[in-house]
Amino acid sequence: MASMTFITQIFRDMRNQKLRTLLTIFGIVWGTAAVILLLSFGEGIQLNQQKAVRGLGEYIVIMWPGRTSKSFEGLPRNRRIRFKAQDAELLKSVPHMKAVSPEYSFWNARARVGRRDKLVSITGCWPIFSEIRNVIPKEGSRFINQEDIKKRRRVIFLGTDLAEELFPDIDPVGDYIQINNVPFLIVGVMKRKEQDSSYNGRDTRRTFIPSTTFKTMFGREYINNIVFQADAPERMPTVISGVYEAMGRKHKFDPADKQALSLWDTSEMETFFNTFFMAFRIFLGVIGAFTLIVGGIGISNIMNVVVEERTKEIGTKMALGAKKRFVRSQFIFETMFLTVIGGFVGFAFSYTVINLFPYLHLEEYVGTPTISVSVSVAAVSVLGVIGLVAGYFPARRASNLNPVEALRL
């Protein structure tokens, strides 16, 4: 009803007590900025790390052959299992399997471009490998395709760093590279990515050719490993047991014999990572919230001083007919008002910091912080609660003053 008068009075008080107002608001500004910046950077770091983890692929399994540890249908234990490309073919029909690719590897092949010479590792795979392992062609490039497989084309896809080292200034797509003196047409270069973990070396230093070409060229019957992906992360255990079933039937081992296959399930890594970052962000959020709570305690103390100072004025207002509820809401309103100003400035400050941050070029280490919706909601609700609580106690004290005592001062 009289909020305009409230505001006029608040502004009058703020003018009369500039330093105090400034200090009060500063506590809230600082707390708000702490909450927002910590949460935003937390989120940025998590997304950055997540990208790096997913540089290997999202919820995938890399599977190598092992040795049986149980005798099965009269066959002895300690039997060596070996994979062929047909095994990958077979695994396509495992329920909830999204994608499978065989992987042939050859280390220390000689790659030559003009006078440049390098030892490289060659991977033979299927087109789907690109999706499973996030080996993504950059603009104007392509990965191995089905035609390459069918026609055993001598085409090659280069890892980012390798491409830059062999072709320092030009786009290699369309050029030729000699692999062990056999010319290969370069059809694509990998888009740069972060990669946290690897096997057979980082993807940026690898080269990829069609599995069929690999088999013919290197005369290999057996593949090194298989990579596969479930159609949903939570289906991974089902898919894995499906894989044991299928491989057990084909290679004659007990599906319960875990040693027969050697699996690296990256979804475990991702689960651990998510839990870790959840804890990390809660930790940051709590630190920020505590900073804001300290700001709230500051504002509450100062409002107590204000109540003290205005005791006589409160008494007068009561004598003129102000109800307790009016006095209370005036102080809560005033505290909220200061909190909102502080929160707003804190937001503006954080916003500026986060928008200027990219100019420091630190994305590689801490990612790009952003004020996401969840961060904003968290900050605003913490602020609101703090404003209310910080205002409530001084307001209650003010409204419980005895007007006669208050006027006597």
Binding site: Q50, R54, G55, N134, I136, E139, R142, N145, Q146
Partner: protein, 61 residues
Amino acid sequence: MLPERLVTFRNDSAFVELLNELSEPAETLITTGLSDGLNVEIASGLIESTQVVQRPPKEIE
């Protein structure tokens, strides 16, 4: 001729993405001719002037 990177080969068939009436990309069956690995001849299914959808590289998230 079309850059081969715009063609998807699946089950012995070839597809490209064209914009439909709703301006959404939709797969269209084509038949291809000779290819040098980079560019491929289109035998049928595509008129020379039609714009084939070119997707930007996937972003890891």
